[in-house]
Structures are given as C-alpha cells and as structure tokens.
Symmetry: C2
Subunit: 152 residues, 2 copies
C-alpha cells in the first residue's frame, strides 16, 4: 500500500469505470502494472467492489429512514444480525456505542412500506424497541473524501 496504490484507490473512488490505460497515464505506470496493482487491491480486500451510484427515487426508493434499535437484555447480537441481514430494505447496519445497539439505514418506496418494516423489526426476537427518524431529503451521500497519508 504505497502512494501509487493510494492514488489508484482515489481515482477509482471518483470514477470506477476508468480504463486501466487511463489509470496508468494518471499514475505514471504502464497498463499491465496498474492491472496487477488493482488486482492485488481487490484480492486483499482493500477494494471490495465497484458500484454504480444511482438516484434512489429513480428506482422507486424514495423514502429514507434511520432506525435505532434497542436490544433486549440478554439477547444474542449475532442472531439478531442474521435476522436484520435478511431484510433487503436495510442498506446499512452499524453496531453502535450507546443505548441503541444498532443503527440501520433503510430505503423503501413508500411510508406504508416503512411502517411494515418497523413492525417486522419490532417483532424480531431480541429487539426491545426501535426509534425511527425519517430523512426528508438527502443533501449528499457517500461523498468520497480525498485520501491522505496517515495522520502523525
């Protein structure tokens, strides 16, 4: 993981469809060298994949909500995680410090679907309570921040 790898990662975070030839020009190496480096970044797990960034409304997912989950005392977090993972509406899942063990970001088409999701969550074994906050609008999301060398 040297400076060249960092710029490759940075370039690909900005535009994942750049050709190897273009990446090579940007970092001053040959295309095969870049190909090999990117391959290693992928197989070492630094680069987990490449995703199109899609306007959610355009694919019928206009409602975004953040849901905090309080666990039952004595519940098994791993079991609960498996129950959560099955729900496709949950786009992100963080294990948090604080009263609410999990914080979910969910995306659904309608408020009715959100209601159904919340009901399902409250029925999930191990869930003591939920707290839902609705995002009225997304100002921006998953903005890539420029990489820097590790802070001193």
């Amino acid at each position: 993981m040297d400076a060249i790898d960092l710029s490759l990662v940075d370039l690909l975070r900005g535009n994942a469809r750049l050709s190897y030839a273009e990446l090579a020009r940007q970092v001053g190496l040959s295309a095969p060298a870049v190909h090999e480096r990117v391959g290693k970044l992928e197989s070492s797990g630094v680069v987990r994949g490449y995703r199109a960034d899609v306007e959610p409304e355009a694919i019928g997912l206009g409602v975004t909500a953040l849901i905090g989950i309080v666990e039952d005392s004595g519940a098994d977090s791993d079991d609960m995680l498996e129950s959560l993972r099955v729900l496709p509406e949950i786009e992100s899942c963080y294990f948090m410090a604080g009263v609410e063990s999990f914080l979910l970001k969910a995306r659904v088409g309608t408020i009715a679907e959100l209601e159904q999701l919340i009901v399902r969550l409250n029925r999930t074994p191990g869930v003591a309570s939920t707290r839902t906050a609705i995002a009225l609008s997304t100002k921006w999301e998953n903005r890539p921040q420029p990489v820097g060398p590790p802070a001193p």
Copy 2:
C-alpha cells in the same frame, strides 16, 4: 425507464466495471444499444457515477460517527448546509424530521480528529448543539437492494 433499463441499473449497481459487451449479453441487446441506454441513464441523472467500494480502514479512516445537529431557532439552513459541505469528513448529510435538523455521517482517522470535527461543528453559525454517536463496527454499508417492480 423500462424493464431493460432497470436490469442495466441493477447490473451496474452490482458491478460497475462490467463491459458494455457483457451488459449486452445479460440483457439480450447489442453492445451499441446498451451503450446508448447507459449514456441516457447517465445524462438523465439516474446513474450519478461509478464508485469503487473501498475498505475505509485501509485508507486511514477507521472511525465512523453519526452526528445529529440541532439548529438555532431562526438559523438559515442553506447557509449552514454550505458550511457543512466544506467539511470533507462529512460523507453523508440528511435533512431530517425531528428536533435534530441534520444527521451527518462522518468518517475520520482517529478519535482526536473526531473531537476536532465536533468542536468545529459546534462553532459553526446556526448550530445550537450536536449529538454524536460512534459506530463501533460497520456490519454492512450501501448494500444494493434489488430493484422495485417484481421481475419474472
């Protein structure tokens, strides 16, 4: 935006580096047809870009936090948004229903940097108070969910 466009979007959300030839095979069209459709999806804003999905720890961003912001009464939300947009650590920004007008997802390298960020936020004009929750671990994030209209 027909069924073929939806599958293209779906395929690209799963792997943004698929070639047009491969996309064409998957949806049963020719490569130029797919090329034109994807171009239209991009210029109409349905597809906003393509991003490499990178392990944050690998680029020195090991600390994730969610920060709620309560606005001063009478503050101008637009002005505040501009102040927030300048801070590169803020990866996502949602305008919320509830007491906390904004919910930020921030990513920094160390707790010390998080502290600095919070201080800066509290000094920002229009910010009455902040509430920070730290993510101990990310179970998953930005998982693409299959597109809306039930397919065959």
